[in-house]
């Protein structure tokens, strides 16, 4: 009963706090650059502003373009239902839900991409082609890593997998495999969320963009949906990363939950640190990084087979 309530609370907390993660990342970057930075709650203000606005649709677009942000937001929100957080099982956990999870993210991406192609803009076409090429390489890393987790947990739902992760687990299936899978997930986390070194969320240069360029034509509430979906995706994938790398469990649900939130904040600060100290890799170098992540996950998987 307590767990069920905690799971619902996680849903609400995720929906509420996801935009804050971006605020923490931006604040970290501002501190590194010696700036004061935007308010922590800036994204909330942006979302409120965008929701009050009207949207402008180009005459060349069809219903696909309007459906894009909605379907993306819906898919990412549903994926939240199967993500465990801080030792709390997900509301919608069932065996094999990690496949659903991966493909909900794929649906979100698919609709972002065809909405971008629907505009007929050469910029958005380039962004779409990049997004598809790179996510095809990021997906194996995620799925191989999840397969390894499922193998060592002996269960096939994300919640089973993450329940079996313990801090200071130096057994044959803990320690190194978990570290490798965690590293692979961190890379996927950065790539899927369009962070440096894969993409630069701050740039204004369309020719260099991957994710941002696909949503250039969205405005008003549509843009709010896009931005909120991006924040939720950051939370969802972030929960998978901290669930492996910072699995603090005391047995007290409330305490674990607090630790989980703190771990998310640590992840956001770590992301900010990466973005402040690294330049973007050249676009041709992105596949190498993603393949490296797949290899890390693959080695982790191999180790769990012993």
């Amino acid at each position: 009963m307590i767990m069920a309530i905690a799971a619902v609370i996680h849903l609400l907390v995720a929906l509420l706090l996801a935009p804050l993660l971006l605020g923490v990342i931006n604040r970290t970057k501002a501190v590194f650059a010696g700036r004061r930075g935007q308010p922590l709650l800036q994204l909330y203000a942006d979302l409120a502003k965008l929701l009050r606005k009207g949207a402008v649709y180009s005459g060349t677009t069809t219903w696909v373009f309007r459906a894009g942000p909605l379907v993306t937001l819906a898919a990412v929100t549903v994926s939240l239902l199967v993500v465990p957080f801080a030792g709390v099982r997900a509301v919608g956990a069932f065996p094999g839900d990690f496949v659903l999870f991966a493909y909900l993210l794929a649906v979100a991406r698919f609709f972002t991409v065809i909405a971008a192609l629907d505009t007929g803009s050469s910029f958005e076409g380039m962004g779409a082609s990049r997004e598809v090429a790179f996510s095809a390489l990021a997906e194996p890393a995620l799925l191989v890593g999840l397969a390894a987790l499922a193998r060592r947990a002996g269960g096939a739902s994300l919640s089973d997998c993450y329940e079996a992760v313990r801090l200071f687990d130096f057994g044959p299936n803990g320690g190194l495999p978990l570290l490798l899978i965690g590293a692979a997930f961190f890379v996927v986390f950065l790539a899927e969320n369009a962070r440096i070194p894969f993409d630069d969320p701050n740039t204004h240069l369309e020719l260099t963009m991957i994710h941002e360029v696909m949503v250039l034509d969205h405005g008003g509430p549509d843009l709010a949906f896009v931005q909120y979906a991006a924040a939720l995706k950051l939370w969802v994938l972030g929960a998978l990363v901290v669930g492996i790398l910072l699995p603090l469990r005391t047995g007290f649900v409330a305490l674990d939950f607090g630790f989980g939130l703190a771990a998310m904040a640590v992840l956001a600060v770590a992301t900010g640190c990466v973005e402040s100290t690294k330049a973007r890799v050249r676009l041709t170098g992105v596949p190498q990084l993603l393949v490296a992540a797949t290899v890390l996950a693959g080695v982790g998987f191999g180790l769990t087979l012993r």
């Binding site: 010696g34 050469s122 240069l205 020719l207 260099t208 100290t277 690294k278 330049a279 890799v281 041709t284």
Partner: protein
């Protein structure tokens, strides 16, 4: 066959040799083949049916400027097939005067939007159009890429959105507006263009600015170089998403601009340089203030600079991006840091020294790689050299006045040439006066005029996603080109 003159000198128009077109072709093509450069090539005005074209060829080894002219009517054999440096000049000539350089391989206007762009055929080739309205707050220009996937096969650059008709407005001067025009030819090169204009005026009228004015003008020119180079290094870091240097350099650039404002009341140096002197002097308090500000900026820059060069992720982006060989650089006549980054020893301050640079030397910085790394590296070294140069001058400012009390008016029927090494490269001003001592033609060649084509060539075979980085490494002026 050509008239010889030095930088900042003038000759009587009667002494300007008017050759046949064939002889002018020989002079220019032969000179360029021997390692000289075409610094300016323009129409000076009509005489009946014929157009008088003037060519100025700069010899970087001997510091000589060779000027010659020819009368062409209707059409003539283009220089470009034998001398690619004339490419842009001849397109401009055709655009401004309606003469046709026969055999020019790509004859279309440079300041009007073309009806058609060069197209690469093929099912998998796609075209990307960027601009004229850009995502950042920058000037307008149109870039048309022919791409195969992410690879750029060809880039054509269409400019002209900033055309103001400045050269035409200068005819009949000098008057009260002339200096205002000069200081806004390219807003980021205020000191450079004002200095070139002052040199032209002094060459036409005889005499020159007093020593103290030369020293302070040199300081101002190097301050302009500092501000822009530091800003560029920060922007290059920003384009690859490297936050620390981008943030620090943005601030340090501001510090240098503020130092310029202390000097003359304007951050971009407007209202400082005048023919025959300066409008502002430096007293002891100001000198100490400048020394203090620049010492702090120098220290801060050293930190930001080291961060940039010590980051492997940044170097991985800079190295091998936007390559230009020394051969191509010489062939198309690049100038400024872009040329020096290809290994060319091309710097007006050394090759054709004027003013203070005759007495205090500043070493040329070159780098052989010709990529974004090279262009950034040359800037970084030049920043250090400019800091040292300014410090040296501030420590030993000559005494005396900063301006002559009675500037001489321009003499009649003369031609004057002035070269100045602006931060972007060689600025060339050529003035011809009429019988009344007024400008009959005033030609401005901004360094961007030479270098835009270099950017187009540097993009060949590159990733289209690297274009913004490449573009920033040249950082060319749109309004300086369009005039």
């Amino acid at each position: 066959m050509s008239a010889h003159l030095g930088n900042g000198e003038s000759i009587a128009l009667g002494d300007l040799p008017v050759l046949s077109v064939a002889a002018l072709r020989d002079e220019v093509i032969g000179g360029v083949a021997r390692g000289r450069r075409l610094a300016a090539y323009f129409g000076a005005g009509r005489r009946g049916d014929a157009l008088r074209v003037v060519a100025v060829v700069a010899g970087d080894d001997d510091g000589e400027l060779l000027a010659c002219a020819a009368d062409v009517s209707g059409s003539y054999d283009a220089l470009t097939p034998d001398c690619p440096q004339a490419h842009w000049f001849e397109r401009e000539l055709a655009e401004q005067w309606g003469v046709e350089p026969r055999g020019h391989p790509w004859l279309k206007p440079i300041r009007r939007i073309p009806d058609a762009f060069f197209r690469v055929d093929g099912e998998e080739v796609h075209e990307v159009a960027v601009g004229p309205v850009h995502a950042g707050v920058i000037e307008p220009g149109h870039f048309r890429f022919q791409c195969h996937g992410e690879e750029v096969l060809h880039l054509e650059i269409a400019l002209g959105y900033q055309h103001r008709g400045v050269e035409r407005a200068l005819v009949g001067g000098p008057d009260r507006r002339t200096l205002a025009y000069m200081e806004t030819l390219a807003g980021d090169t205020t000191i450079g263009h004002a200095l070139a204009h002052a040199l032209v005026r002094e060459a036409l009228g005889g005499g020159g600015a007093p020593p103290r004015a030369l020293a302070i003008a040199g300081i101002a020119l190097e301050l302009e170089r500092l501000a822009n180079h530091i800003g560029d290094l920060g922007a290059l870091a920003g384009d690859v998403g490297f936050l620390p240097t981008a943030a620090y350099c943005g601030r340090i650039r501001g510090d240098v601009l503020n130092a310029t404002a202390q000097l003359c009341g304007n951050r971009f140096g407007r209202g400082l340089v005048r023919p025959y002197g300066l409008d502002h002097d430096v007293d002891d308090a100001l000198r100490e203030d400048l020394q203090r500000r620049l010492a702090a900026a120098r220290q801060d820059f050293a930190v930001a600079d080291r961060l940039l060069w010590d980051s492997p992720s940044v170097m991985a982006r800079f190295e091998g991006t936007g390559l230009l060989s020394l051969d191509v650089c010489d062939e198309i006549g690049l100038v400024g840091p872009a040329a020096r980054a290809c290994g060319a020893e091309r710097d007006v301050r050394q090759n054709h020294p004027h003013g203070i640079y005759r007495f205090v030397h500043i070493p040329i910085c070159t780098w052989p790689t010709g990529d974004v790394f090279g262009r950034a590296h040359v800037r970084s070294i030049e920043v250090q050299r400019s800091f040292a140069f300014i410090q040296e001058l501030l420590d030993s400012l000559p005494g005396g006045p900063v301006a002559l009390e009675r500037p001489a008016p321009p003499a009649a029927d003369r031609l004057a040439v002035a070269l100045v090494e602006g931060w972007r490269g060689e600025i060339c001003h050529v003035a011809l006066t009429g019988a009344d001592g007024r400008f009959a033609r005033y030609k401005v060649v901004d360094p961007s005029f030479h270098n835009w084509f270099g950017l187009a060539l540097a993009m060949r075979g590159q990733q289209i996603s690297d274009f913004p980085l490449c573009n920033k490494s040249f950082n060319l002026s749109y309004c300086g080109h369009d005039l």
